[in-house]
Symmetry: C2
């Protein structure tokens, strides 16, 4: 006990040190949680999907959580607080929809430094309130705390679903169609536009003509600043009588996400480059910035569109649904996770996703 302080303060330097970047986000979570036994009969599915699944009644209860840190997940130099509030809620709802569930309640915890005023938090809450109203979700609790280091937002979302309706990541079967909603890479191009503008404004000597306006490109900004969870697609699939075999939302880019589905379903995939839905203006901006829009669509992230697989028998129904695109099909696992280029060339998909721990 005499050495209590020495032990506490210095154990880090005495211990082996493995950099977190060597494991990556998913490796890290797997490493930390793989020996955690489940003890509650109400727990039906723990870590490893868009949301956890519990059974408290005849329906299932879903639960998902997200932590947003200033400087990592958002930059207040170009993200208005109202948009940030809306987005913080929207990305959690997206996880519940991606399980084919209905979000019902959220809790919000904030860490706020003295830099922020009550009016700032009103703006943030105005955005969260808007998302709650639109998607009929109740804000039922939370925690507000001082912070020494900017703004921290932690949101947890509950939802419900019938057991038979829940769609996991592990249900994809060989020959299933791979579908995405909306378009991909657009949120990333919105971020590039905002970032370019921020840098241009930070140089006092920048020529006004070197600062392109946002006119005609508002949609890209909206995709970055105010994403909408695709409740409409979930509803349309249900109306059409389609139950996806596997589903998740696209937060880290198509490459990373389809690899999750293939890994968990023990299958491979073929994604056709020319089938990936691209927004025309996003493609235009990408060309202007010397970026490959397909790379942005595969790895850009933050689109919060849905990625799902369906049985071949649903083909006719699928093509009738607006804003849903078939981008490929599920293969045997030995085929790997492949991108088929415009000239038929096969490339292994690379999950670039989460590199934030690399310094």
């Amino acid at each position: 006990m005499q050495n209590f302080l020495y032990f506490c303060g210095q154990n880090i330097s005495f211990m082996a040190r493995t950099e977190i970047s060597t494991l990556g986000e998913f490796g890290l979570i797997r490493h930390l949680t793989d020996k955690l036994p489940l003890q509650q009969p109400s727990t039906k599915k723990g870590i490893g999907d868009d949301a956890a699944v519990m059974q408290f009644g005849s329906k299932r209860t879903l639960m998902t959580t997200d932590l947003l840190l200033e400087g990592i997940h958002f930059n207040l130099e170009y993200v208005p607080l109202k948009h940030l509030g809306y987005k913080a809620v929207a990305v959690n709802l997206s996880d519940i929809y991606a399980m084919n569930g209905t979000p019902t309640q959220i809790t919000v915890s904030l860490g706020v430094s003295a830099r922020f005023s009550v009016e700032d938090l009103e703006e943030l809450y105005a955005g969260m309130r808007l998302a709650c109203e639109k998607y009929k979700v109740d804000l039922v609790g939370g925690d507000t705390s001082a912070s020494m280091t900017g703004l921290t937002i932690s949101i947890t979302c509950l939802g419900i679903a019938n057991d038979k309706d829940i769609v996991y990541r592990n249900g994809a079967k060989v020959n299933d169609l791979i579908c995405v909603s909306g378009n991909l890479g657009t949120a990333y191009m919105g971020l590039q536009l905002l970032e370019r503008e921020r840098i241009a404004h930070s140089h006092q000597d920048a020529q006004p003509e070197s600062i392109p306006a946002f006119e005609g490109r508002e949609y890209l900004l909206e995709r970055q600043l105010k994403p909408e969870p695709r409740q409409d697609i979930i509803d349309k699939l249900r109306e059409a009588g389609i139950r996806p075999t596997a589903m998740m939302d696209i937060s880290d880019g198509l490459s990373s996400e389809i690899k999750h589905i293939c890994h968990q379903s023990n299958v491979g995939c073929a994604i056709y480059e020319d089938k990936i839905p691209i927004d025309f203006v996003a493609a235009e901006v990408a060309e202007e910035m010397n970026l490959n829009i397909v790379t942005c669509a595969l790895n850009g992230g933050e689109d919060y569109e849905l990625l799902f697989t369906c049985d071949l028998k649903d083909y006719e129904k699928l093509v009738g649904i607006e804003d849903v695109y078939i981008v490929g099909h599920i293969t045997k696992p030995e085929f790997g996770t492949m991108l088929i280029g415009r000239n038929g060339e096969e490339l292994e998909l690379q999950a670039q996703g989460w590199q934030a721990f690399k310094s």
Copy 2:
């Protein structure tokens, strides 16, 4: 749209600015959430108690969340990561027990800077795992993210309870007995010991004899570093056939918490100074440091003991329960929230609680 960036970056300076410290934590939460309508039939109780209450089946589902920020809620100079993990889980469980519920699942989100290694996170998880095992709670999800600013821990806990068993803060009635479990001010004195030791070690010229050892005072450190949620008290009350009329856990100090119960129940209270349970060693350390141990018990916080009110008819049963102490009684609201001193003098209780936003 041309002025998009100007608007975003500069709206703070154009707007009125109200410092958060003028509202305080509870004023702030009330201010931000008072116009939020509840839309989901499954929401039975939103913001304002230890946990939110939902109904997904025949039982009720409880939900609580806590955000812990390095430098605000913990100091890694003297808090070992394993203890921190244990405590982070324990304080959430405490909120569920304070509703008279049973915790069932948690999610854990971490923001981690490059300062931390995989081994550090293993230590943190070892503590969380220990708490989960002891209280039979499942870790079902979470989110791990890079951080530029130290360690951030956000935990959300679900629990269950029968509707008729749930105890809110608003049920205290005139003449009810006011009870607390354990002892108060002890965690605060543990913090003072750790803080004194830290400062002593930071002065290279400190004389060894000026650094008191922790021997005989381990219990104070344990109360600060590894608090236990009082599941045992909840069980004993149930076994004795006692259902408290109001209950909450003591995280911010007795003064602040009894004022919450009185405010929400629209009653007053009389707390008797000489009835407040004090640990003998804590009192000794307080005297050594020229601190008033009763003030520490009233305002120190982090004891995570239970504060509850009971009908007078339960008196005989209550006195038979080990580690439960009757500290006063509920009065009419016009009496106010009073501390009755050793000589019978009446003092208005002051809620010092959460002053962290004051700079």
